[in-house]
Amino acid sequence: MKKYILKRLLLLIPVLIGVSILVFVIVRLTPGDPARVLAGEHATEEYVQATRERWGLDQPMYMQYYIWFKSLLRGDLGRSIATHSPVIEEILNRFPATLELSLFAMVLAILIGILAGIISAVHQYSFFDYFSMSIALFGISMPVFWLGLMLMFVFGLWLDILPISGRINVSIPFQNITGLYVLDSLLTFNWRALGSSLLHLVLPGIALGTIPMAMIARITRSSMLEVIRQDFIRTERAKGLPEKSVIYKHALKNALIPIITVIGMEFGLLLGGAILTETVFAWPGLGRYTVDAVYARDYPAIQGSVLFIAFLFVIVNLITDVLYAYINPRIRYR
C-alpha cells in the first residue's frame, strides 16, 4: 500500500509540471502586451518598460516560464493586478469558504443519496423507487446555477425563510479563527453565529449538493441491487438475522466500493460546481475569486487560482484512488 501511494505521488509531479506549463501557455496566449496589463492602464511608457524587465517579460518564453516556475516553487503566485496583494494570500483567505461549502454539500449528498439509494433498491419498483430515481434523473440534468436561482426565488423571496447570499449575518459578533465559520462558532461557543452560518449554508449547499446526491443515489441503488441478490444475503436472511442488519450492515458494506468511487469523483467535480454556485449566491470563495479575476482580466490571479484549484482537484482524485485501492486490493497489484 505504501509503495502504491508513493508511486502515485511520484506520478503526480510530471502532471503538476504539465498543468503549470498549460496554465502559463493559455494565459500567455491572451492577446495584448502582458507588461502593459501588469503595469496598469494609465502607466507611463517607462513604467511599462520597468515592469517588463522586472517580471522578465523581455526574455524568451521558456525563460519567462522558468522565472515564473521558480517563484511558484517558493509559493509565490505573484501579485494581483486589481488589489496589489499577493495572490497566494487572497487564495488562502478564500479557500476556507469553498471548503466549508463543499463539505456541507457533500455531507448532505452522501447522507440523502445513500439513504435514498438503499430504500430504492430494497423496495425496487415501488413508488418511492420511481419517485426518487426520477428526481435523481432531473437532478443530474439541471444546471447548478439555475437550481440556485430557483432556490433563491422560492426560499429567499417567496417564502422568505432562508438567507440568499453571504456566509453569515454580519451584525452578529464573530471571531474568525480557521475561516470555517461553522467550526469557528463551535470553537467559541457562539450559538447565534453557528445558527446563522448554518442557515446561510443551506441554499448554496443544496444547489451544489444536488448533482452528487443524484449520482450517489443512482449508484447506491444499482450497487445494492446487485449485492442483495447474492447468495450470502439469502444465507443471512435464512439464518434469521434481522432485516435491518442484513441491509445496513452486510449488504451495504459489500456495495460500498462503487459508491466510494463515485463519492470521490463527485468531490472533485464539486470544485467545478462551486465556481457557479458561489457566483449565484455571492459566496466569497475560491470559485467566485476565479470568475472575478477573469472579469477583471487579472492574469496573476487567474493563473494562481486556476493552478490552485487544479492542484486540489488532482489531490482529491489521488485520495479517491488510494481509498479505492485500500478497499479493493485487486487494484494495487495492477
Binding site: 510530471p14 502532471v15 503538476l16 504539465g18 498543468v19 498549460l22 496554465v23 493559455i26 494565459v27 496566449l29 491572451t30 492577446p31 434523473l137 432531473f138 443530474i140 440534468s141 439541471m142 444546471p143 447548478v144 446555477f145 439555475w146 437550481l147 436561482l149 430557483m150 433563491m152 426565488f153 429567499g156 423571496l157 443512482r218 449508484i219 444499482s222 462503487p258 472533485g268 467535480l269 470544485l271 467545478g272 460546481g273 465556481i275 457557479l276 457566483t279 449565484v280 476565479t290 470568475v291 477573469v294 472579469y295 482580466r297 487567474i302 486556476v306 484549484i309 487544479a310 482537484f313 488532482v314
Partner: protein, 305 residues
C-alpha cells in the same frame, strides 16, 4: 493474389451481414427501452424546433420594446397572449428567444462534441494502435488535461480567447477531447488484439486499411454512447459559460445568458425570465442523458454502471 481477393471479399460480405444484424438488434434494443425512446423524442423535437425556429417563434427574438419590459405570460390572463411566456428585461419575447436559443445550444453542443470526437478518435487510435512512446506521450497530455474540472478549463481558455459562441465551441471541444481519447484508446486496445486483426496483418493489409476498415467500425459503439452523453455535458457547460457572460455575445438568444440577464430581476418577482430558459436547458440535457443511457445499454452493456 486471387485467393486473397476472394478471402477479403468474403470477409467483407460477412462483415456487412454481421453489421446489418447488429444494427437491427440495436434498434430493437433501443425501441424496447422506454426511457431511451422518451429521450430520443425529446431530442428529435428539439432538433425540429431548432430547424423550424423562424416559423415557430411567435415574435422576433431580437425585437426590444420598453413598453413591454418584464411582462408576465399566459398565466396572467388573455391580455398577455401576445407573449406566451412573458418578456425579458428588454421587452423581448421569451418564448421566441427560447425557440431560437434551441439552435444556439444544440449547435454549440453538437459542434463542440464533433471537435472532441474527431480529435479524440485521432489521439485514441494513434496512441493505442502504434503504442510505445507515442501512446505514453499522448496519455500524459491527457492526464494533464484531466487535472482540471471541465468548467474551470473552459473558463480559463475563454479567459484567453475572449467571449463568443465559436470560441465557446472550441473551448468545450478541447475540454471534452481527453475523455473521448481515453474511451477510444481503451476500445482500440482490445480490438487490436483480436484474431481478425492478426489475420488482416498476415494477409498483408496496410495500417490504414486495418484502422479504417476494422478498428474504427468496431470502436464505434463506445464512441457513439460517449459522444451522446458528452453533448449533454457540452450543452450544460456552454450554458454555464453563457451564464458567466463568457459564451454567446448579446443579443444572440442563448439559454445560459438569458438566465444570467434575468438574475437581477428574479428578486423583483419576474420569475418567468429565469425559469423557462433553465427548463429548456434541463429538458435538452435530460433527453440526451436518457438517450445516452439507452444507447449504452443497447450498444455496449459492459459500460453500464
Amino acid at each position: 493474389m486471387f485467393c486473397t481477393l476472394i478471402l477479403i471479399l468474403a470477409s467483407g460480405i460477412a462483415d456487412m451481414k454481421k453489421q446489418s444484424s447488429a444494427f437491427s438488434d440495436f434498434f430493437y434494443m433501443l425501441r424496447k427501452n422506454k426511457s431511451a425512446m422518451v429521450g430520443l423524442i425529446i431530442i428529435l423535437t428539439m432538433v425540429i424546433v431548432a430547424l423550424l425556429a423562424p416559423y415557430l417563434a411567435p415574435n422576433n427574438p431580437l425585437q426590444r420594446s420598453l413598453s413591454t419590459r418584464l411582462k408576465p405570460g399566459f398565466w396572467a390572463g388573455k391580455d398577455y397572449a401576445k407573449y406566451p411566456l412573458g418578456t425579458d428585461y428588454l421587452g423581448r419575447c421569451l418564448l421566441s428567444r427560447i425557440i431560437w436559443g434551441t439552435r444556439t445550444s444544440l449547435s454549440v453542443g453538437f459542434i463542440a462534441v464533433l471537435i472532441s470526437t474527431v480529435f479524440g478518435l485521432l489521439l485514441g487510435v494513434i496512441g493505442a494502435y502504434y503504442g510505445k512512446w507515442i501512446d505514453t506521450l499522448l496519455m500524459r497530455i491527457v492526464d494533464i488535461l484531466f487535472a482540471f474540472p471541465s468548467i474551470l478549463l473552459s473558463i480559463t481558455i475563454m479567459a484567453a480567447l475572449g467571449a463568443g459562441l465559436e470560441k465557446a465551441m472550441i473551448a468545450i471541444g478541447i475540454v471534452y477531447t481527453p475523455q473521448m481519447a481515453r474511451v477510444v484508446r481503451s476500445a482500440v486496445l482490445v480490438i487490436k488484439e483480436m484474431d481478425y486483426i492478426e489475420a488482416e496483418k498476415a494477409l498483408g493489409a496496410s495500417h490504414s486499411r486495418i484502422i479504417w476498415h476494422h478498428i474504427l467500425p468496431n470502436a464505434l459503439a463506445p464512441v457513439i454512447v460517449y459522444s451522446t452523453l458528452s453533448v449533454a455535458g457540452a450543452i450544460l457547460d456552454a450554458a454555464a459559460l453563457g451564464f458567466l457572460g463568457l459564451g454567446a455575445l448579446p443579443p444572440t438568444p442563448e439559454w445560459g445568458s438569458m438566465l444570467s440577464n434575468s438574475r437581477q430581476f428574479l428578486m423583483s418577482g419576474a420569475w418567468w425570465a429565469a425559469t423557462f430558459p433553465g427548463l429548456a436547458i434541463m429538458f435538452a440535457v435530460l433527453g440526451l442523458n436518457l438517450l445516452g443511457d439507452g444507447l449504452r445499454d443497447a450498444l455496449d452493456p459492459r459500460l453500464r454502471v
